[in-house]
């Protein structure tokens, strides 16, 4: 078979700039940010205090512009129709003033403000794209057939943008407390997020690989960013070595898949697999296996999880929050797009493998977590358990399964960011005090903080009226609906086992005796804001899950063939 015939002649790809806006805002913003900060290393004393609030106000304008450019209307454009431009402008000014006041009040640094502003603008673009483009035009390709835009990619883009905002707020106080303030962390985070967004929308294995590397390499450096902590260095090195190894697996998997199907383009692969019956599919199976190993590493699935505890524990806590939310979500997005959508026809071949991965991950995540003595490490193991749950949803290989994983990814990201935000402030200078006994008596020292942490932990345990419960409910529902009863039962049993782990943390907070001469826990306003937002999302979508549920059900990944109206569903 001639490969050349399958590939279209090289020509300028058709670009839809609006669809590309979130990527450009995050990636381009990162580059501009690093350029700006290398030119202006330190702000003049006289304006230092005013620049960040001003930038905060400008970012509101940025949200309006990004929204207006990507959609057919500016955000909240109906206000203009109803009450006129003057009202809208006055409202805008008021919001800008409030944001500026808020930034000044929280004492946010310039870098964190700019990062959050860029991510918020990206989020605003996602919002308008969802409402104005997706609802009307349906899924589309935005860069040739290399990048797609569908509900699935948009939800993940929006989630990543929100996570970046929250982690930026966490990083601000953290970096200053640790004395390692600088723009590098923010730039790396924005770059990594760009990689994540591209991963969620990639329609080609090569693009996907490049995005994954962008995401990963930035995170390797972020993990090692705390120069004065040995564990941080160790985490970075470990993550890098094992990550590079996993990337090699992934690349080899891509090569084998290319060999078996004649293309690296997901649309072409799907078309090929749908229309062709392979006599000898050894090459394809090898490709599946290798790809699964590569993705398994990124999502932290057992038996490719060995890096998780050390890296989660060693990395600066806000970076851990970023890994648990953005990296995990992006990896699951790519996993679903490649396996559930592209290899959907071969479900009976890869579903058992995913089931085994899910089962192992659930068991390791729940059983090994019990014996840990460090809260950060416990949460690392519990992140395995959550990855296992999401794999259960992937294993269902259905629209419900995908919707459940999307819901789970959103819910878990918020719970994880909230939990690690609490640990960020509790751990104190040097990220030292993350042990279980350092949490002793937190309820007496900081009742509100302890209550918030308890809610995050219970949500992770899957207690009703939290988003964590609805997420588990949806995943188990998808699994049961697909007939995987035993996997569903195993998942629920391990959920009970991991409840023990969350209860241990809760117990030490409420029953433990606080160390008399422990340092006072300082909660910066920005961290309180992060915890508050995560709390509202976690409890809000637990009480009223309908809205998010509808969004996740519309977030079905689609592959759109070039030049034809055929939409390949999952």
């Amino acid at each position: 078979m001639m490969v050349a015939q399958l590939l279209p002649a090289v020509e300028r790809p058709e670009l839809i700039w609006e669809g590309l806006l979130p990527v450009l805002l995050l990636g381009g913003g990162a580059l501009l940010l690093v350029l700006f900060r290398s030119l202006v290393r330190a702000l003049p004393e006289s304006v230092a205090g005013q620049v960040a609030p001003a930038m905060g106000a400008l970012s509101v304008l940025g949200m309006v512009l990004a929204g207006g450019f990507s959609g057919t209307d500016i955000p909240l454009g109906s206000v203009v129709d109803d009450l006129g431009w003057v009202t809208y402008l006055i409202g805008l000014l008021v919001v800008m003033a409030v944001v500026a006041w808020g930034v000044a009040r929280l004492g946010l640094g310039l870098d964190a403000t700019l990062t959050a502003g860029l991510a918020l603008a990206a989020f605003s673009a996602v919002w308008r794209l969802w409402n104005d483009r997706l609802e009307i035009d349906g899924p589309m390709n935005i860069v040739g057939d290399q990048l797609g835009l569908d509900g699935f990619s948009l939800v993940f883009t929006g989630l990543i943008a929100l996570a970046v905002v929250l982690v930026a707020l966490l990083l601000d106080g953290y970096l200053r407390r640790e004395g390692i303030d600088g723009v590098e962390m923010y730039v790396l985070m924005l770059l990594s997020a760009t990689g994540g967004v591209v991963m969620a929308s990639a329609n080609d294995l090569i693009v996907l690989f490049l995005a994954l590397e962008t995401l990963s390499i930035a995170v390797y450096v972020m993990a090692a960013m705390h120069l004065r902590r040995g564990e941080s260095q160790e985490a970075g090195l470990k993550y890098f070595l094992l990550g590079a190894f996993a990337s090699a697996f992934l690349l080899y998997g891509i090569a084998l898949t290319y060999g078996a199907t004649g293309s690296t383009n997901l649309i072409a692969i799907r078309g090929f697999l749908d229309s062709t019956t392979l006599v000898d599919n050894g090459l394809l199976m090898g490709g599946f296996a290798m790809l699964l190993v590569g993705f398994g590493f990124k999502v932290g699935a057992a038996p490719f999880h060995a890096w998780t505890p050390d890296v989660y524990q060693g990395a600066p806590t806000p970076v851990t929050a970023f890994m648990a939310s953005v990296v995990k979500a992006a990896a699951f997005a790519a996993l679903i797009r490649v396996f559930v959508v592209t290899f959907g026809a071969y479900g009976s071949d890869w579903q058992p493998a995913v089931a085994v991965l899910a089962l192992l991950t659930l068991l390791v995540g729940s059983l090994l977590a019990i014996v840990q003595r460090d809260a950060k490490r416990m949460l690392a193991f519990s992140s395995l358990g959550h990855a296992g749950f999401m794999l259960v949803g992937v294993q269902a290989a259905s629209d419900e399964g995908v919707a459940a994983v999307v819901f789970y990814a959103v819910a878990y990201s918020m719970m994880a960011i909230g939990s690690f935000a609490v640990l960020t402030v509790v751990s104190g200078v040097g990220d030292r005090r993350t042990g279980l006994d350092d949490l002793d008596g937190l309820a007496q020292r900081r009742p509100a903080l302890a209550l918030a942490f308890t809610i995050f932990l219970l949500a992770q345990a899957g207690v009703p009226l939290t988003a964590g419960f609805v997420a588990k409910f949806e995943v188990i529902g998808a699994s049961v609906s697909a007939g995987s009863y035993w996997l569903a039962i195993a998942a629920m049993v391990t959920a009970v086992i991991s409840a023990f782990l969350y209860l241990r943390i809760v117990l030490s907070m409420y029953l433990g005796q606080a160390d008399e001469d422990a340092d006072e826990i300082r909660v910066p306003g920005a961290v309180a804001l992060v915890i508050g937002v995560a709390l509202v999302v976690t409890v809000g979508f637990g009480l009223v899950p309908g809205e998010l549920d509808t969004i996740t059900r519309e977030a079905v990944p689609r592959l759109v063939s070039l030049g034809s109206a055929v939409t390949l569903g999952s």
Binding site: L458, V463, V480, I489, F500, D549
Partner: protein, 557 residues
């Protein structure tokens, strides 16, 4: 058969939603109160609980006795549209008395014992607990039911863990993990019920209890497996032997109010679950597994009674007696006839009243003497005669002495199970004797004999405590002497449930026995499922007979 009569019986004010939401809002209100006025916490939470109790009383009065088989006061609001999940609450003759009991016990539990420390969180958790319990008894949607069934764990976990005694961390964790394990599989069962039913009928997925129960689209095998997943959850909650081991630990280490609620309300979540969800949703499986559950219930009765006899700790003794009492409820329920189900239901309320009161009394002994070891107590009757008298009445009610409430329920449950499972019922009846043994023996050791040391100085019942005990005593005597108002409100619902089972299970007819006031054993017939009487004629006869039986006992007083 229960049907949603939303149009005819629902009222403008969503009273059932208010029942569920009021305590939760009260808990939020408590959190907002300033911390420097601790005396407000108890008053405010008591007020909230009283308002809730008043609403349950209103529901009880407005409840349409003739239509007790139908769900009344139904509220239904869509919750999660895509999955056919709705916030549907309703009340019928089965749940009515449990709701009333819940409404009555919470203000008492709040009033009776002060929080030892951190009153704000303590009362807030109690109110959250009330929301959860109300929700379980009222929910008519499987999702909503599961949410409430799980949510009750959280406040109870904190109540035991933070305000308990002894090995409280261990007890709280054990309680949480045991019950969560049970319900984890039930979640799979709930989802399987909804999705398999939708797949069979081709209708959109729904979690509505009444719809699912009337569809009965599941295959026999599937229904049996799913019933088992439900049964495990309920068996842990009840608790049935052999998954009962969390109960003594939880009870012993819980604060008094926690024990009162745990025994009075929370144990009924399991038995109620069997009635409302187990039998109603899976009639065939319930009939199929009934012998197993009756056997486990009987083992529980004997085991609980023997274990209670051995206890040195007064509270642990009462805890084990709960295992025995709950066994009676289970054998009555799974006799699957009118007497058995009514006896089980009555016993649920009775156990809530008498064991709740017992835990309160034990709590007050502990408050005065700081010990619950039976060997360290003795002769309390002399310094505290009124206390001893009240204890005596409550204890006799717990034993099941005729004329007091415990007798009616146990008697009906035994009659019902005798008709269905003669030998198990005979074994179970010996449990009544052992109950008399351990309770009287404990009473003897605690209250009789010479009072030495601190025992001689024990204070008698205060006015406040007496006032708290008054509703318990009133309920004990009223339900023992004149149970008719209670029974006639539950009977239509019970009959409807049995009719539902008969309609959906081909070779099942209600196990009945001819029971006349002065019947001789030889005249009894109708053992197991090979009853000789057709169900159509036996219904009315049975009920009149059972009432005759009760009235005759009253006459004997």
């Amino acid at each position: 058969m229960p049907t949603l009569l939303a149009a005819s019986t629902s009222v403008a004010f969503p009273v059932l939603t208010a029942l569920v939401v009021t305590p939760a809002l009260g808990a939020l209100l408590l959190l907002l109160l300033p911390a420097n006025r601790p005396e407000y916490f108890k008053q405010v939470s008591f007020l909230i609980a009283v308002v809730t109790a008043a609403m349950t009383a209103w529901v009880m009065v407005e409840f349409d006795t003739a239509g007790a088989a139908d769900f009344q006061f139904v509220d239904s609001v869509s919750w999660l549209d895509n999955l056919g999940i709705s916030w549907t609450l309703g009340i019928d003759g089965i749940s009515l008395w449990l709701v009333v009991l819940t409404g009555a016990l919470f203000p008492i539990a709040i009033l009776a014992i002060d929080a030892e420390h951190s009153p704000k969180a303590y009362y807030a958790w109690l109110l959250v607990l009330e929301t959860g319990c109300m929700g379980v008894f009222l929910a008519l949607d499987l999702f909503a039911f599961f949410v409430f069934f799980e949510i009750v764990l959280i406040p109870m976990y904190f109540l035991i863990g933070q305000w308990g005694h002894g090995a409280r961390a261990y007890a709280a964790t054990k309680f949480f993990i045991y019950t969560m394990f049970g319900s984890a599989l039930m979640l799979v069962g709930i989802l399987a019920t909804a999705f398999l039913t939708a797949a069979e009928t081709g209708d959109p997925v729904t979690f509505d209890l009444v719809t699912l129960a009337n569809t009965q689209a599941l295959s026999t095998t599937a229904a049996r497996w799913i019933f088992l997943s439900f049964a495990l959850a309920f068996a842990v909650k009840v608790p049935l032997f052999p998954v009962h081991t969390w109960l003594p630990d939880a009870h012993t280490n819980a604060p008094t109010a926690g024990s009162v609620i745990l025994a009075g309300v929370m144990l009924k979540l399991g038995t109620y679950g069997f009635l409302r969800f187990g039998i109603y949703l899976f009639p065939e499986a319930a009939v199929y597994f009934a012998p197993m559950l009756v056997a486990l219930g009987t083992i529980g009765i004997i085991y609980g009674a023997i274990a209670a006899t051995m206890q040195r700790d007064l509270k642990r003794l009462v805890a084990y007696s709960s295992v025995a009492h709950l066994g009676f409820i289970v054998i009555g329920t799974f006799a699957l006839n009118t007497e058995g189900l009514e006896g089980g239901l009555l016993q649920m309320v009775n156990h809530g009243v008498s064991t709740g009161a017992l835990f309160l009394l034990v709590g007050w002994i502990y408050e005065r003497r700081h010990t619950r070891e039976i060997s360290e107590l003795g002769g309390l009757q002399k310094p505290a005669p009124i206390f001893a008298a009240v204890f005596m009445v409550v204890m006799l009610s717990s034993i099941g002495v005729p004329g007091l409430n415990g007798f009616v329920g146990e008697f009906l449950a035994l009659i019902g199970s005798f008709a269905a499972y003669r030998w198990w019922a005979i074994v179970a009846a010996t449990g009544v004797v052992i109950a008399a043994l351990y309770l009287l023996w404990a009473y003897q050791r605690v209250f009789h004999g010479p009072a030495e040391g601190d025992n001689a100085e024990m204070a008698d019942l205060t006015w406040r405590e007496g006032a708290i005990m008054l509703p318990f005593l009133a309920a004990i005597f009223f339900m023992g002497l004149y149970p008719k108002p209670v029974i006639e409100r539950m009977e239509p619902a019970v009959d409807a449930l049995i009719a539902h089972v008969e309609r959906h299970v081909d070779d099942f007819s209600e196990p009945t026995a001819e029971i006349a006031p002065a019947v001789e054993l030889d005249d009894l017939h109708g053992e197991g499922s090979d009853a000789e009487h057709g169900e159509d004629t036996s219904h009315d006869e049975d009920t009149s007979h059972s009432e005759d039986a009760i009235h005759s006992e009253e006459g004997a007083q």
